[in-house]
Amino acid sequence: MPFKRYVEIGRVALVNYGKEYGRLVVIVDVLDQNRALVDAPDMVRGQMNFKRLSLTDIKIDIPRVPKKKTLIDAMEKADVKNKWESSSWGRKLIVQKKRASLNDFDRFKLMLAKIKKGGLVRQELAKLKKENAA
């Protein structure tokens, strides 16, 4: 089982600990065995331990330590945002965020919708069972 996601310049990673938790960043340079220089369009470039990063499948084409403008252009070109939001990992995070922000009323409406959906599914199942039995 070889590794598929490598730490390299241009690798997009998700921060999984600390002040920047949940942010998508790009690895822009490797400082030493444990740390990387990391950058994002709306963040001041800074160092981060690899342990705080979860590597993603997305990689963009940038020179080592690019200017902010170059970084932003490269991210636009590679369409990182859309690739991330359409990936299953990205979609899961979006759903988690939505669920956490639900209001009490929203949760109630969700419950009603689930019951309704379950009812419809059961109806269809009953129909199919009847057809099968006949």
């Binding site: 956490a100 922000s101 209001n103 009490d104 009323f105 109630f108 409406k109 009603l112």
Partner: protein, 233 residues
């Protein structure tokens, strides 16, 4: 009472430091023109006769001298302000009641009374909660709001909710043996009508929002996996 500083009268003796004036007594005598006042009055300060004191009515000896010295409590002129409301509580907010007979019910907030308690109603037709007062501490304010603009709340205050003064029951021997006549407290009709008028307006605004009526008729309960400190209300 004489005016304290008659139209911009300030001291003619500026402070060098607090407690020390710039000018000496003799300098101030000259500055204030006391020599001119004396001169005008023939070398002495003008004397004003004291105002005739109002004739004191001879005090009547009190009827009753108390046996012990009773301490008088100190005067307290503080006025209470109604409790400060949490920012999330605005008229029309849906609350979740946390304690009492209607624990878990979702109700609509109407207004804060002068005692600080919150006036709340079910509406009665929807979930059985009448016009009621509730303490802010026993309430979770959700972020759901109901339009409350058409409701007239002028007549509701703390007096409206006071208990009826109980009639004094005469103690008689017979009553100890007879079963106590249960006087059921019936809600007077005008209070029932108040409830109906308030609720009529509210129910219209509630039915305008989808599922809000079923939401208000259901009780809130904490289910498995729900973490109250992480829930957004």
């Amino acid at each position: 009472m004489a005016p304290k500083a008659a139209t911009g009268r300030t001291s003619r003796n500026p402070d060098l430091i607090r407690g020390v004036g710039k000018f000496s007594r003799s300098k101030m005598y000259h500055k204030r023109g006391l020599w001119a006042i004396k001169a005008k009055n023939g070398g002495v300060f003008p004397k004003h006769d004291p105002k005739p004191a109002a004739a004191e009515t001879p005090a009547k000896p009190p009827k009753f001298y108390p046996a012990d010295d009773v301490k008088k409590p100190l005067v307290n002129k503080r006025k209470h302000k109604p409790t400060k409301l949490r920012a999330s509580i605005t008229p029309g907010t849906v609350f979740i009641l946390l304690a009492g007979r209607f624990m878990g019910k979702r109700v609509v907030f109407l207004k804060q009374l002068t005692s600080g308690l919150l006036l709340v109603t079910g509406p009665f037709k929807v979930n059985g909660v009448p016009l009621r007062r509730v303490n802010q501490s026993y309430v979770i304010a959700t972020s759901t709001k109901v339009d409350i603009s058409g409701v007239d709340l002028g007549k509701f205050d703390d007096q409206y909710f006071e208990k009826e003064a109980e009639k004094k029951k005469k103690k008689g021997e017979g009553e100890f043996f007879e079963a106590e006549k249960e006087e059921k407290k019936v809600l007077p009709d005008d209070k029932k009508d108040d409830q109906k008028t308030v609720d009529a307006q509210l129910i219209k605004s509630i039915e305008a929002v989808l599922d809000l009526k079923t939401y208000l008729s259901a009780r809130f309960s904490l289910k498995s996996g729900m973490k109250p400190h992480e829930l957004v209300f």
